[in-house]
Structures are given as C-alpha cells and as structure tokens.
C-alpha cells in the first residue's frame, strides 16, 4: 500500500478511535429510570455502526482532501447506496427477518441518513477532484458579487410575491413560508443591531416577546384592533430597547452578548411568573385576528356586517386568511428591508457602520457612541415588536414557551450566517435554517442537532458568513481597482 493511502487510513482510524471513546457512554449505553432507581443498558450494535460510519466517512473525506479521486468516489457512492438501501429496507419492511438482519449491520434511521448524506458529499468532493484535475485555479474569474446578489434578491422577492398563486402550493407550504418570512423580518431587524452596528444581541427575542404580549394584552383587555396595536407594540418594544440598552451598551462585544442573554431570560422568567398580568405559563388565548381593511375572515359574519368572502362574493375558504397573513408578513418584511436600505445611507446608518469597524476612531471623530448604539438597539427592537404582534395575531395565542433563548440563538445564527449586514444573505440563511428544518418535521428529533452542527460547520467553512459582501454602503471616491 502506498503512503497516501496509509496516511488516510491512519488518520481515519485515529478519528474513529477518538469518536468511539467520546460516543461510547452516550451511544453505546442508555440510562433509564425505573421508579427511582436508575438502570444502565447497552446498545452495542448502534455504537459499532456509528464507529464504522465515522471511520469510512473520515477515510473518504481525508482521501478526497488529499486530492485522490477513485478511492473516495467509490467509498462515497458505496456509503450513499448503503445508507439509502438501509432506509428503504427500514421503510418498506422487506420482511421482518430481512430488516432485523440488516439492522445488525446498519442500525437506525439516523445513522443510515447520515451515511447516505455523508456518502453523497464525499462522492461530490471526489467528483470535483476529477473535474478540477486539468484546470488551473487561475482560470476562474471572480464573479461580480454585488450584481449577482442584486439579481438574486429581485428573483427571491418576485418568487415570494407570486408564491401563493403558484400551482401545487398547499396550506402547509404557505404556513412554512409565513414562518420563514417572520424569521426573515426578525433577521433583518436584528441585522440593524448585529450586522450594521456590530452589537451582538443574544436577547433579541425579549423584544419579540414584548411586541407579542403588548398586542395580546391590548387586544384581549381593550379589544383594540391589530392595526392600532401594531405601532403601539413597536413603540413599546423600542422603549424597552432604550431602557435595557441604556445601561449596558458601553460594554464590549462578548460582555454585551451575555448581558443581553440575561435580559432575554429575565423577561421570559417574568412573563412566566407574573401570573396576574401575563397569565403565566398558560399564556394568553383568544387574541384578535386582523381584518382585511375592516372585513374579518369569518365563515359566518355577525348580523349586519360583511365578511371577506361575502364582500367579494367568493365562497368561504380558510386559506384566504392564511394567504392574507402571508402577504401581511411579506409587506412588513419589505418595509423592514426598505427602511434598512434607506437608513444605511443616512448619517445615522453610516455612523453605525463606522462604529462597527472602529469605535475609537469614531469617538475621536465626534460620533457619540452611546446615542448611536442606542438608536440601533431601539430601531432593531421596534421591528422585533412589529414581528411580535404579527406572531401573536397569527397564532391567536402567546405563552412564554415561544420566547426561549434558542429563538435568539437561531436569529443570531441567521444574521451571522447570512454574512453580517447582507440583507439578501439574511433571507437565504432564514430559508436554510428555518424553512428546511420546518419542512422536514418528520426528522424533528434530529432537527436541532443538525441545526447546531450546521452552525459550526458553516462557521468553519465560511467564517465571514454565507454571502459576505462587506462593501461600505457609500463611497465618496470610486473603489480602488
């Protein structure tokens, strides 16, 4: 055996060995509680399967990285086919005995999925090695990123507007799209704070919660309509932003992150325990639904009033309300985007970007760091408040459950993966991080695991974000060639 193969084998054995030691207690053993007494059982087939998959996966990756074509291609294809076969066997049964025999080799849906996906990735890497063999890297011309992103943005916006009208679009897809757009809007709001002003806010969900509870309480207590509450909720959230931001905004990056995380958790704990005001863990129900310019979406309108379907003379269909909700959040998101794009060109927006790049230089040039940061914080919070009221009216129900730290983490991940300040990047990241996992609800158990690992992998692959494009918004002089 020649030396690159031996090196790959050694490397794969080492990685599989370490992974095996790490995984043994969690994959190979299972803690269960019977009554009060804990018991320990073993799961060796699963463990062995995991180690084998890791070994071959690593072998393929390291061979592909060394520029070899044949070995990783064969390995990758074998893994992909094996994983897919195992999934098919699991799904169709193929007789109980056949499935049982198969399980002895590759146990578990998860492992099969991982093997299949990993195999495809390795085969892809190897295939690229083949294709790139004769080509010199210098031949690749850099793409005009800015232009490309612009067209991508226009295409995405057009697609978003037409989505409910496309054939084959069902309720579920509209629901998922509405959720994704909520995150896009939140991401754009947070982008002002994190992307433009460079303040890492790990408690953004607090303002989302303030917006949602403002609308919920105003609607349930006073019966105010959505359109009246929307600006009120935004204002309240912005006030909260100023209130929380005022004392802490002079802290540096990581400290600010932890303090905002603390604020987020504090608001959630208060919502959870202030029973008289927020109804505690039971949440608030029967929140008013928005109307279409005064026309409610009800199957049977009250005497003497008109409903959406009677006014337009169409038959009642609950999808109408869903589509209206979809366009509502789309409009809100577009407003957020337009606002951000415009304000970036104003002095305040330029001050944010300058502050992100160098705070000391800004201070010496007469920019007031506190007021500048505070304005970014408050405006970001305001958009979270808008999105929060939308959330409350869409669900018709709010409870502290919806405002946990993980939501903040997802939002920060969307902004950072999107490339910190890139509007289109945020949209793409929201689709990848929220839309895809939401659409694959069947794999829900693995969702968050894949999500966390995805965050790490994307950071390792592109530390600057998916679509990095850190051009200053305004240039006084043409860019140097």
């Amino acid at each position: 055996m020649n030396s690159p193969h031996a090196a790959s084998l050694r490397d794969a054995a080492l990685v599989a060995g370490i992974a095996g030691i790490l995984a043994f207690p969690f994959v190979g053993l299972l803690l269960t509680t019977e009554g009060t007494a804990p018991t320990l059982s073993t799961r060796f087939p699963e463990f062995a399967g995991a180690v084998v998959v890791i070994f071959f996966g690593r072998l393929g990756v390291s061979a592909a990285r060394r520029g070899q074509g044949l070995l990783p291609l064969v390995l990758g294809l074998a893994m992909a086919v094996g994983g897919a076969l195992s999934l098919v066997v699991e799904a169709t049964g193929l007789g109980a005995s056949g499935a049982a025999a198969w399980h002895a080799f590759v146990p578990g849906t998860f492992l099969s999925t991982v093997a299949c996906a990993g195999g495809i990735a390795i085969a892809g890497l190897a295939g690229r090695n083949y294709l790139m063999q004769d080509r010199k890297p210098a031949e690749r011309t850099p793409l005009p990123m800015g232009q490309l992103l612009l067209w991508l943005g226009i295409a995405l916006a057009g697609f978003a507007i037409l989505l409910p009208l496309l054939p084959g679009v069902d309720r579920r897809l509209i629901d998922v799209a509405t959720l994704v757009l909520t995150y896009v809007m939140l991401g754009w709001g947070l982008n002002i704070v994190v992307g433009l002003a460079g303040l890492l806010d790990l408690g953004y969900v607090a303002f989302y919660a303030v917006g949602a509870y403002s609308y919920a309480l105003l609607s349930v207590t006073f019966g105010w309509s959505f359109w009246v509450c929307l600006p009120v909720a935004g204002t309240l959230a912005a006030l909260f932003g100023i209130l929380l931001g005022f004392p802490v905004l002079r802290l540096r990056g990581d400290y600010l992150a932890i303090v905002t995380l603390g604020f987020g958790e504090m608001i959630r704990i208060i919502l959870l325990n202030w029973y008289d005001f927020t109804n505690g863990p039971d949440g608030i129900t029967n929140i008013g639904r928005p109307s279409f310019f005064g026309l409610p979406f009800k199957s049977e309108p009250e005497q003497g009033t008109e409903s959406f379907h009677t006014f337009f003379g169409v038959t009642y269909d609950p999808v109408h309300r869903l589509i209206f909700m979809y366009y509502l959040i789309l409009a809100l998101a577009f407003v957020t985007n337009a606002f951000t794009l415009r304000i970036r060109r104003l002095p305040i927006g330029r001050a944010w970007e300058a502050l992100r790049e160098d705070e000391i230089a800004c201070r010496s040039l007469g920019v007031n760091p506190r007021n500048t940061k505070l304005s970014a914080f408050a405006i970001g919070a305001m958009f979270a408040g808008f999105a929060g009221s939308f959330f409350a009216t869409r669900q018709g129900f709010v409870s502290p459950e919806s405002f946990t730290f993980i939501e903040s983490a997802i939002l920060v991940a969307i902004v950072v993966l999107g490339g910190m300040g890139s509007q289109i990047g945020v949209a793409v990241a929201a689709i990848i991080l929220v839309g895809l996992p939401e659409y694959f609800r069947e794999l829900q158990e693995y969702r968050m695991l894949a999500f966390g690992m995805g965050m790490v992998l994307i950071m390792l692959w592109r530390p600057g974000g998916l679509l990095t494009h850190r051009e200053p918004t305004i240039r006084t002089r043409p860019a140097p060639a």
Binding site: I18, I21, L22, P25, F26, V27, L29, L30, L31, T32, T33, T36, A37, P38, T39, L40, F110, L200, P247, V248, L251, G253, D254, Y255, A257, I258, V259, L261, G262, F263, E265, M266, I269, I270, L272, N273, I360, F405, I406, A409, V412, A413, V416, L417, M420, E445, Y446, M448, L449, F451, G452, M453, G454, M455, V456, M459, L460, P463, G464
Partner: protein, 321 residues
C-alpha cells in the same frame, strides 16, 4: 408577661439565625459547584478572550458520565460506594477532558484569528448540538440517582424546633473543591504549564517567539477547564440527584456570571464569584421568591458589569489602539 414576650422574641431571633445558617450552608455548597465551573470560563477567557459558550454542556456531559459510572457499579452495595465515586470521578474527568479537547480542536482552533463573533457563533452551535446529542441518545426525561452519601451533622441552637443540617455530602463538596483549587493554584503558579499559560494570557505571539507551544497550552487549558467542570457535574448529580440534558445552560450562565463577578481571568476570583453567586441564590430563594432567583443572578451580572467591569479581583483591561 414582660418576661415571656422577651423569651419569645429571643426564640424568634435564634430561629432567624438558624435559618440564616442553613441558607448559608446551602449557599456555600452551591457556590463551590459554580466556582468549579467558573474556573473553566475564566481560564479560557483569560487565554483566548472568548466566552466558551459550550462549557455548560461540557459540565452536563461530565454529570452524565459520572452518573453512568455510579450506576454501572450498582449503588445498592454499601461497601463499593467509595470505589464507585472514585472511579466516577476519574472516568468522568478523563472522558470530559477529551470532550473539552476535541471541542477546542474541532470548533474553535480553526476559527482563531478570524472575526471574534465567528468563534462565539461556533460555540453556540456546539452548545446546541451537544444538548441535542445527549437528548437524542439518552432521552429527554430526567435521570435520577437516589442519595448514596447519607448522614451528616445536625445542630440545634437553644430550644427551638428548627434544626440546622450540615450533610456529609456538603462537607465533601467543599473539601473537594478546596483541594482542587489548591492543586490548580499550585499548577498555575509553579509548573512550566502554568507559566506557559500565564505567558499566553499576556501576549501570545511573544510567548510563541520565546518557544512556548501556544496551541498545546490552549488545548491544555480547555482540558483543565473540562476536568473541573466534570467534577462539578459529579457533585451536582450527588447533591440534587436529578440531571437532564438541559442542566448545562442555566448553570453555565450562572458560572459565567460568577467568573465575571470575581474578575474574569482570575482563578481565585472565579471561586469567590462562585461563592457569592451561590450565597445570593440560596438567600434569595430562602427570603424572597424561588421563582425569581435566576432574575437575581442576572441582575448581579448586569450591575457588576456596569459598575465594576473588571470584577472584584480582576485587572483592568487596557484598550489598545
């Protein structure tokens, strides 16, 4: 009449003192555990200036492994308890250290030198992934352990009914923590590794020029932090007898608060901060409301950062241009 009321108020005063003493004991044991976790945060922050967000999960993993070893020994036989605990301690420290080492190697080292937020995002991703990995493989339900170290001392001051309890376990927690503290303080003050760590803390490129292996030093820092966190995990499992995949998050935030309170980068500071946080939490639960104890901790974090950004024992950070 007069005499009787005087005796009553005296009795109440004794009861007040007793209650305080009990909360104090609970607070100190809790604080020792927070302190052990906080050391991991403070050492890592001191050396590479990042918040190791996944450190809470490392602690949770340590707790799980320790519980597995204890269960594997079969806790019913009384004679084996010491052996079981000792093996749990060693196995958990070894495996958790490996987790810490791999964590740094896989998720943080490739990002060193890129933008600061990248490493933090990677750490948050790792934290989410590790939580869900444990939930997926071990289930979401809590794991329990019946108390295996019983006994202790009971004090009764005056003729009140209130009994102050100091359990053997609480003594053990404080003693083990103090011993580990002493060992680590010596390690950092006297050994070559400690010297390398202090050098990297001051100036990494200068340390590298002078022949210090920076990568190795940082790796070992993660290993040490993880080992201490696993000890904290073992002690929490014994103390509360309940763990689940989510215990790392809130303990991590509190330990970080402790590290900041004590002055980040300072190891005695982490211990002091841990004690203060533990005491605050116990007193707050004892005298105010148990629901808002986490709010109290977070408020301390905010107040300290605003008024005393360098913590109690920290050194002021010089802003370089």
């Amino acid at each position: 009449m007069n005499d009787e009321s005087g005796r009553d108020s005296g009795r109440i005063r004794i009861r007040v003192m007793d209650y305080f003493a009990q909360q104090f004991i609970n607070g100190v044991s809790l604080g020792a555990i927070y302190g052990l976790i906080a050391i991991g945060y403070t050492m890592v922050y001191g050396i590479i200036g990042m918040i190791n967000f996944a450190h809470g999960e490392i602690y949770m993993i340590g707790a799980f492994i320790a519980l597995m070893v204890v269960v594997a020994f079969g806790i019913s036989e009384g004679g084996l308890v010491v052996l079981a605990l000792l093996s749990a301690l060693l196995v958990s420290m070894a495996l958790t250290s490996l987790y810490g080492w791999v964590l740094e190697r896989v998720a943080y080292r490739p990002l060193r030198g890129t933008q600061r937020l990248a490493a933090l995002i990677s750490a948050i991703g790792m934290s989410i992934a590790l939580q869900n990995y444990v939930q997926l493989t071990q289930g979401a339900r809590v794991k329990t352990l019946p108390p295996i170290i019983r006994g202790g001392f009971e004090f009764q001051f005056g003729n009140t009914e209130f009994i102050v309890r100091l359990s053997t376990l609480q003594i053990l927690i404080v003693v083990v923590t103090l011993a580990l503290m002493a060992i680590f303080a010596l390690l950092i003050a006297k050994t070559a590794l400690g010297r390398a760590q202090r050098a990297c803390q001051q100036d990494q490129s200068m340390a590298a020029l002078l022949g210090v292996n920076v990568d190795r030093t940082i790796s070992l820092t993660f290993v040490m932090g993880a080992a201490l966190a696993s000890v904290a995990g073992l002690m929490v499992t014994l103390y509360y007898g309940v763990i689940d995949f989510f215990v790392g998050f809130i303990a991590g935030v509190k330990a970080f608060t402790a590290a900041v309170l004590g002055g980040i980068g300072s190891i005695p500071g982490a211990m002091l901060g841990g004690l203060l946080i533990g005491l605050t939490e116990a007193m707050w639960s004892g005298y105010f409301s148990i629901e808002y104890k986490d709010v109290a901790t977070f408020s301390i974090l905010v107040i300290v950062l605003i008024f005393l950004p360098t913590g109690i024992l920290g050194t002021p950070e010089v802003e370089k241009v």
